[in-house]
Symmetry: C2
Subunit: 407 residues, 2 copies
């Protein structure tokens, strides 16, 4: 299938760049992928989607690649939307949903961006890729790189969650631990471009991860029958997902596919231990000051400085949404609360969104009849090291004490 | 929607039992759920499936419950089939596929059975459920029980994989560790029926887990366009999945939906450290002797005695398949091999199937042009404790030694 991509565009100053060769940043800031939306409008109707496979490639006209290009794929399913009546009721909300990204390859939303970035890198002849990560991105890149037959290098802070470290090795990546922060990892990847010759797959340093993440918005719109939900709560580190979703809703609006042209209010959720976007939002700034000594147990949002800060803040403001910092100490409790109440296993980053839900409901920013979607970016099963869990032991050599079990 | 279930039926002697009340075993052996297939034939055409949601409930006529019954659900997606050209080539096989069950809730195939069992228990008024587990079943039951508002008790050998222990607690189950084997856990659950009053959710001790697992076969048939693949390799512990899939192919055949009436050869894969089904198969027996001192790193197939042994063996033989034991010491290597070669993260149980694939190919039992499907019952990410992984540390206080990274 011919691509509908027309060009790339600098997000900071609108400079038009070619999509026919490999591109990274412009003036140290990210690029947009632009499509010929008029041509897509003539080629694609909503009805055409009906008989397509239920994975991200069903939206191929709005992606830089289509399945006909023999893409590298690990089965990127359309993730389910799960109704949360009990949790909603607790906060006086009638229509609360979790979109559960843990059903994607490697168990997290990171696969959406990295399947696209790895495929495009492969298309442009890249043989070696490298990434800094403190969460799920490393494993996702390692998996797709393995499938593509590329060499993969991953650099992680030593306190990265156990499973995230483990999965990089499982897929055969060359994985290193750093006695520093994600920024230190990013510096090694940057410096290694010349020293090793790898391609830098850092968040937003190549244009295609946004396009993969965009599918979160495309799926959501289709799952809500081409009507946008009212509010989206999204855990925000590098922000690619929030930026991507907002791009999706804009493109769908231009295609005329969104009923009433309504788009959701986007809420960027951070921990008060690391909330550069919230500070900039509150101060009315378009760019965020880096946070000193960032801390949060939710390592995926422990991002003190985001290269796409202005893209996140623009999206949040255009949408009529907001950026909100939640008390760090509540995160683990709300992770457990959600799992016990709804049976949905959420990661700490998503738990921050549940805390935000409570705060926004209490302050009246959310209305009872609004449709609200929280993104669960990975399952709790990827975070066994987040909290110590104690078990009662039963000795089969002795008679069972049923009172101990009953308690 | 009215159910198409006609009755239950003893698998050991064909006794007909009512499906209108809660049932467990008959003569200490499992029950089949029987449907009015003629009525289904009149009510449902393949074309009706086209506009249904892509989850297990799309086959509602062939299930004991339908979405209209307001089922408890966590988004049981149709799992992807991933082509494995590189791995296939290694063994001279042109059409090798992995069906990746890790995209199901709680990251494993166990959700299929337990969503059905918990829903049916709820329908019959059960308030408390209990299960013995050495793998993924405990977490899956705990998740659905939490969502259903039931109390859940889980009993596990103390060497159960870390994540499997962790997830039970995440969902708020009362979870206990036993200094014994799965059989010891099973005995506590059995004894607790009178002492605590819970319902026993052990493998095959209630009739509906098979129906959930059956959806593996229904999906597979639809994904292969209602033509069965030639061979299915399935890691076999309690065997519910193998039994369920064979039941699916039989029901589809009776509906006339399978092209040429062709059904797959079913291969039950076990470790040579615990292979009761293989021993019985080789000896021409219908019932398997319990294994003394079972051992395998693949805890999900560490099942020394299966209550549905004859159902597994009947299915394997009827299908023209076989039961095969693989060398225990190869399992971890083949887990890594698959992840590095295909980018697919597989569990140790599935790795046993990859070992079996090699053996069956070498002995000429598999042909180059046959369509072969391996079930990946969970992702490697659930098994960080299976092998020790070492990382190279980088000290950001010193200049980077690029030679160390390059190696």
């Amino acid at each position: 299938m011919p691509s509908f991509v027309s060009n790339l565009e600098s997000a900071i100053d609108g400079t038009v760049l070619s999509a026919d060769k490999i591109q990274t940043l412009h003036k140290d800031r990210p690029l947009w992928v632009r499509y010929d939306l008029d041509k897509i409008k003539r080629s694609l109707q909503i009805d055409n989607l009906k008989n397509r496979p239920h994975n991200i490639w069903r939206y191929k006209e709005l992606l830089p690649l289509s399945p006909e290009d023999s893409v590298i794929s690990l089965g990127e399913v359309v993730t389910p939307i799960i109704s949360c009546e009990k949790l909603g009721k607790k906060y006086g909300l009638d229509k609360l949903y979790i979109k559960d990204e843990s059903s994607l390859p490697t168990g997290s939303f990171k696969s959406r961006g990295l399947v696209m970035a790895v495929n495009m890198a492969k298309k442009f002849g890249v043989k070696t890729v490298a990434i800094p990560t403190a969460g799920n991105a490393g494993g996702a890149m390692a998996a797709y790189a393995a499938r593509a037959g590329m060499d993969a290098y991953v650099f992680m802070p030593e306190d990265t969650p156990l499973i995230n470290k483990f999965e990089c090795k499982v897929f055969g990546a060359k994985a290193f631990l750093i006695n520093g922060l994600i920024g230190d990892c990013g510096k090694i990847v940057r410096d290694g471009k010349d020293n090793i010759g790898w391609f830098d797959m850092s968040t937003l340093k190549e244009p295609y991860r946004i396009e993969g993440k965009k599918t979160m918005g495309l799926e959501l719109a289709e799952q809500f029958n081409w009507r946008s939900p009212d509010v989206i709560l999204y855990p925000t580190g590098g922000g690619t997902g929030l930026i991507g979703m907002w791009k999706a809703f804009n493109e769908l609006d231009q295609l005329g596919w969104l009923k009433d042209g309504k788009r959701p209010r986007m809420v960027a959720v951070q921990s008060d231990g690391c909330c550069p976007i919230v500070r900039a939002f509150d101060a009315g700034e378009r760019f965020a000051e880096p946070v000193e000594n960032p801390y949060t147990i939710a390592s995926g949002i422990r991002v003190p400085s985001a290269i796409g800060d202005f893209m996140i803040l623009d999206a949040v403001r255009e949408s009529g949404g907001k950026a909100i910092a939640v008390p760090e100490e509540k995160i683990i409790d709300y992770m457990e609360l959600t799992a016990k109440t709804e049976g949905i296993s959420i990661c700490p980053e998503t738990a921050a969104c549940v805390v935000a839900l409570e705060m926004l409901s209490n302050e009246g920013w959310l209305q009872a009849d609004e449709e609200i979607v929280i993104f669960n970016t990975a399952a709790a099963q990827k975070y066994p090291d987040i909290t110590e869990i104690k078990f009662t032991m039963i000795d089969i050599g002795s008679p069972i004490d049923w009172d101990i079990i009953r308690r």
